[in-house]
């Protein structure tokens, strides 16, 4: 038994507003292949009387937090946030999946969920002459704080994106610095894995760090960091932008070309969560040679890659075909040579799917920043 006070929960998450129309489940990318059914979950909460038993509700870990459910709901109910809160109730009771436990502990100890040492966080930038906001660094007074994020700092594949972004910023004369080894996880995935307490701690510490270095304007690599700073952190007057927004505002000048057909995969945390659909496309269209083609499911209808909501660490109730594989199929159908995205998780899941489908000779997965650098 793992009971929660469902009446209070229903109040807190506004679930009485639900009219059981099923739009959440009808659009849920996981409902079709797992036990997750957001509409029915809400109904079970509503009829639970005084207590709702979370025991055995494995499907709660299926949610990718893509926010399709919330974007479709006509009554402003947010099933995704309810799922995250139910996860928190499970975590609070100490029932944590071993994989998740490792990620959370690592975030607590090393400031990243990847079990990597903090001292190596800025190694990717060693040879790049990037100013640092860290103690003794030269970035004091820089206009922008480039918040790199965990995966772009440590993952060898995604490091290429952070390095590309540094070139683009330098090329464009953007005055920026990084936090170096003092940068810590934004906490987005921690929050979505249900560790509300740890998230609160992280957000406070980061808030203080941003304040202490005088950061007024943050640029992120990842839509996940962008979203959590913008929507989950207490309001602190710091302006946060995803890098595609900055590049759309301050267009790059290109001397080369990228002569390829490109399709763009909308990351959920940029698109469905924050309605940033046009800027990444504007950046792509401005690159000489790029021929942009759209997948049928784009923008508001974009299919989640299944990398969010802690799904990088979890298998859930159906370890079958990952959404990223369906997504790569859709990209292949457009005839595109390059599948572009603007999110570290999407980049990794989609690239993995391309390998799985033996499509490496037909489709290359790239971050928009990498494409821009190739054309520079």
């Amino acid at each position: 038994m793992l009971k929660i006070d469902s009446r209070q929960f229903i109040q807190d998450y506004g679930l009485y507003a639900c009219i059981q129309c099923g739009k959440c489940t009808g659009g849920c990318p996981m409902a079709i292949k797992t036990r997750l059914n957001p509409r029915m979950l809400i109904y079970r909460l509503l009829i639970a009387g005084n207590g709702f038993d979370l025991e055995g509700r494995e499907e709660l870990w299926d949610c990718t937090t893509c926010s399709t459910c919330y974007s479709r709901c006509p009554k402003l109910v947010n099933p995704m946030e309810a799922v995250v809160a139910l996860r928190s109730a499970i975590v609070e009771n100490g029932r944590i999946h071993p994989n998740v436990k490792t990620a959370l502990e690592s975030t607590f100890r090393h400031g990243n969920p990847l079990t990597m040492p903090r001292e190596e966080r800025a190694d990717w930038a060693k040879d790049l002459q990037v100013k640092s906001f860290a103690a003794g660094g030269a970035a004091e007074g820089a206009e922008y704080l480039y918040f790199v994020g965990c995966t772009p700092s440590y993952d060898p594949r995604v490091q290429k994106v952070s390095r590309a972004l540094v070139s683009l910023f330098q090329h464009n004369g953007i005055d920026f610095g990084i936090l170096g080894v003092e940068e810590s996880c934004c906490g987005s995935e921690v929050r979505r894995l249900g560790e509300a307490g740890l998230f609160e701690m992280i957000s406070e510490e980061n808030g203080e760090l941003f304040k202490s270095v005088g950061a007024e304007h943050i640029i992120t690599t990842s839509p996940h960091c962008f979203n959590t700073f913008k929507n989950d952190y207490p309001k602190n007057g710091v302006q946060v932008q995803h890098y595609t927004q900055v590049l759309a505002e301050q267009p790059l000048s290109y001397s080369g070309k990228f002569d390829k057909t490109v399709t763009y995969h909308d990351p959920c945390y940029l698109g469905k969560h924050n309605h940033v659909f046009d800027e990444p496309r504007a950046v792509l269209k401005a690159i000489p040679g790029v021929k942009l083609v759209e997948m049928d499911r784009s923008r508001e209808k974009s299919l989640c890659c299944e990398g969010g909501g802690g799904r990088m660490w979890l298998e859930g109730t159906n370890p079958g075909t990952r959404l990223a594989q369906m997504r790569v199929q859709e990209a292949l159908e457009t005839g595109a040579e390059v599948l572009a995205t603007a999110c570290p998780f999407c980049l990794l899941t989609l690239e993995e799917a391309v390998k799985h489908l033996n499509a490496e000779d037909r489709l290359r997965v790239m971050d928009i920043a990498e494409i821009a650098v190739e054309a520079m």
Binding site: I19, Q20, C21, K23, T25, G26, E300, K301
Partner: protein, 466 residues
Amino acid sequence: MIEYASNGHKPAALVIGGGIAGIQAALDIAEAGFKVYLVERSPSIGGRMSQLDKTFPTLDCSSCILTPRMVDVSRHPNIDLLTYSEVAEVSGQAGDFRVRIRKKPRYVDEDKCRGCGLCAQACRLSGRVSGDPGVDFNAGIARRAAIFVPFPQAVPLVYTVDPQACIYLTRGVCGKTFLCKDACDAQAIDFSQTEQYLDVQVGTIVVATGFDIFDAHRRPEMGYGVYPQVITTLEFERLASASGPTAGKIILDGKMPKQIVFIHCVGSRDRALGRWDGEGSNPYCSRVCCMAVAKQAHLAHDRIPGAQITVFYMDVRAFGKGFEEFYDRVRNEGILYRRGNPSEVIRHGDKLLVRAEDTLLGELVEVEADLVVLAVGMQPRRDASGVAEMLHLERSEDGFFLEDHPKLRPVESNVPGVYLAGCCQGPKDIPDTVAHAKAAASAAMILLAGNGQRLFANQEKSSLLA
């Protein structure tokens, strides 16, 4: 007695809007012996009802029951019909409103035009102009010329030059000679026409300005504007109508659809609209869509042999006289009602997939379709705020004009002497609209008949209009 009436003026009413509500109110007031100025901003009266094929639940032909009323309006000795005109200014108070009406130039002499249509055949843009889907009689699915009558039964049956489309009016020159003018034997076309103003005095005003159709682009996941096979219920009416561009054949891109899905509540009961586009939400039920869909499903069943027809719904609101019986009839015809409101429409080869949870099964289903009809809701007119400002009308939270009391004063507005008729006050079907309009007419006539002093003892309130 109303003061100006005793000064020798004939008591008169202004009716704003020439849809079924305005037509009904105007006819009732005129029949009682009062003068009526009926102002309609589009080229013809008739409104939304003229666009419909059949009406639920009786399946009467909409234009067959409406057209005689339109003709009655045009022939009534007590009605001054001012089409292609707008109310520009209103001042005064109950019993003595001063109204300035702007007559827009049609560039066609109403007295000379015989409605023959030779001008439209001759127009360089003949068959090339598609009107604004929210205003156009054929909901944007058919093409016309830059000089047009909205539909063959238009009242008045007089051509109008579309100033947005006409080559001469937009570019200052149209070839060497005006093809339309050359074609017109009646010499009715007159590009020298300008705006004209008419000042009238009336004792009372009936507002019957109607509603706008929800713009389905605002729910992009439904694929409206992306897939040609996704249409609105209004467009379906034009496809099904004998006077429509396909002469009543339900054909899309030359083909008769065989798998048809109807989707309820698009742009109604939706509080989340406007989260990103900054426009309002539509939290209310539009009250007509359930039955409109039932009727259209019946029409599709009737005209497309062997069609598979699925209606996705959250609730079926069949509350009017004969409505539940009609819903029974439609289901018995083999139309499948599935509970669950679709979340999205995606491409599937040449066809579409409607993705929904069948909430009775608790399963996500994908239903193949070659026609998807979105039951779009009603919303306040885009320019309702301008009308409200001009007349000092209050609006309810949903944006429709506010009645003075929700139970006891359903047609009175907050301004004495100004009454509300039809969907400008909130969504209504045709029977309710007619009933509301008749009530507004009766309220207006009480004032005109001379009880003004008793009704408007509260002078403070009645001097709201400066």
